[in-house]
Amino acid sequence: MLIFGIPIQLFSTQIMLGLINGAFYAILSLGLAIIFGLLNIVNFAHGAFYMLGAFGALLMLDHLGINYWAALAIVPLVVGLLGCVIERFVLRWIYDLDHLYGMILTFGMGLVIVGIFRNMYGATGLAYSMPPGLQGGFNLGFMYLPASRAFVIVASVIVCLATWVAIEKTRVGSWLRAATEKPQLTEAFGINVPLLITLTYGFGVALAAFAGVLAAPIFSVNPMMGSDLIIVVFAVVVIGGMGSISGAILTGFMLGLVEGLTKVFWPQASSTVIFVIMAIVLLVRPAGLFGKQA
């Protein structure tokens, strides 16, 4: 069977790969958006925390025998705690400064984290053995869907939706939204905003680590894995605008899909298509698809 002259097998496989990339874009840009909303910091170290997540899963399996499923819960928790500590002792000093300083500071932080892992594990990739529950796959008739990849998409959709519900529909989420709009006023209502900020950074970073654990079995685990990805995620964030949680999620999946489609029709352009879309969005709607017009 052919779609636009292309075998449906190839077509659907690329769409699936695109959705997987989109899942990572969505989780990472979601974390960036939450952090930026409250802290006004573009967390350049986000890619490093994603890498930490993948290495965390790998090291726990190798040294402690902790399996993938446990790592999915433990690693984000540990990395999130690390994020809380970093917020408390490093980031807190620069909130009064121009936002650029936050970006440069976290850039430096990312360099340090990645550098440490490059010293210890070199620049080549390490393999994370596929957890038993994710081996095999489903034959859908028109394509073969590996269980590991299906799981990544399902898990990321669930995490994104849960985050959206937590922020838009719960009490703590309402505090977060209030503090994002008017921190001083929120504090006047007796809400501990500094604590909220610490937890928010921890949560955003934990999301990145969760994405890293998801990535461990399907990509090779190496110290640089987050460094190029985070810049693409910046483009995603510019396209979506950082103002909206659902916007970040939708834009992430959408762009992954577009990237997958480009791979079908014009493979050479697939690594640049997101940047081209960014250029078009800047021309047509500079504030981003979901951003508030500035």
């Binding site: 490093v90 000093w93 650029l100 970006m103 430096g108 932080m109 340090v112 810049i231 510019v238």
Partner: protein, 324 residues
Amino acid sequence: MMQKNIPASSDAAAPLGMSRTHLVLMLVLAALVVVSPFTLYPLFVVKVLCFALFALSLNLMLGNLGLLSFGHAAYFGMSSYAAAHAAKVFGFTPELAILFGVLVALALGAVIGALAVRRKGIYFAMVTLAFAQMIYFFSLQAPFTGGEDGIQQVPRGNLFGLFSLRDDMALYALVAVVFLLGVLALYRITYSPFGQILRSIRDNEARAISLGYRVNGYKWLAFVLGAGFAGLAGSMKAIAFQLASLTDVYWGMSGEVVLMALIGGMGTFFGPIVGAALVVWMQNELASFGAWVTIVQGLVFMFCILAFRKGILGAVGQLLGRKV
């Protein structure tokens, strides 16, 4: 807002409108450029001068407009590819190859700048970074860049078809002259009425608009000029080291040049030169320690942001009570 940035020059009577402090600094700089190849390894100084010009080109926007072009390596790297290709494949003489590199950087800066100035602040940084990454992916695939190998064994050629640059000192003389001219040009731009308008946009954009300035046009021109000088630095580096490679378009290079401006003092004119010398020296010293360079750079970044935002020359200026 950004910390105190490049102040206006006060004494208009001095040459090029320099204050006495700046005149002294300019003379010291020129003296250093003349003397250093006799005491240091000339090619090391060439590297410092190329990166110093690169860092100054970044600071044209950062210091005066408060806008960070976080993908500045795109212009540096692309122009070094262009110059290397022109010298090696087209057989251009070095001055034409460098000119060609600068033109490519200007054109690239004109396109990316027109898009980037549509966003402000932190988004501007992200947009420029993302476009630079696009240029990197393009360089990775394009046939003329040589992929992972880069363009190697670029001929230095004969300047104006007459003077051979094979000798390191001859090459040094060329780089030194271009560097000093570049510094003078950038100085003149910074303290021209155009530079004043850039700083007024930085300090109060709404007011600049209400006074009738087309601020996006000014930002764009500053961006294009910055890209052009980055291109000058990149082209010279390609000719001098006979190599254009992916390292020069990668985001790591963009980060390094930000570090140079930051260490030296982005609120000063001469600071990026000091920063460039320090960073290049540090890389030389740490070259054999692998990823430690990255770790040290990261730590220096963090230290500068947390505790040393004025940078070296900014701190010196504060001590002396003068604008440096």
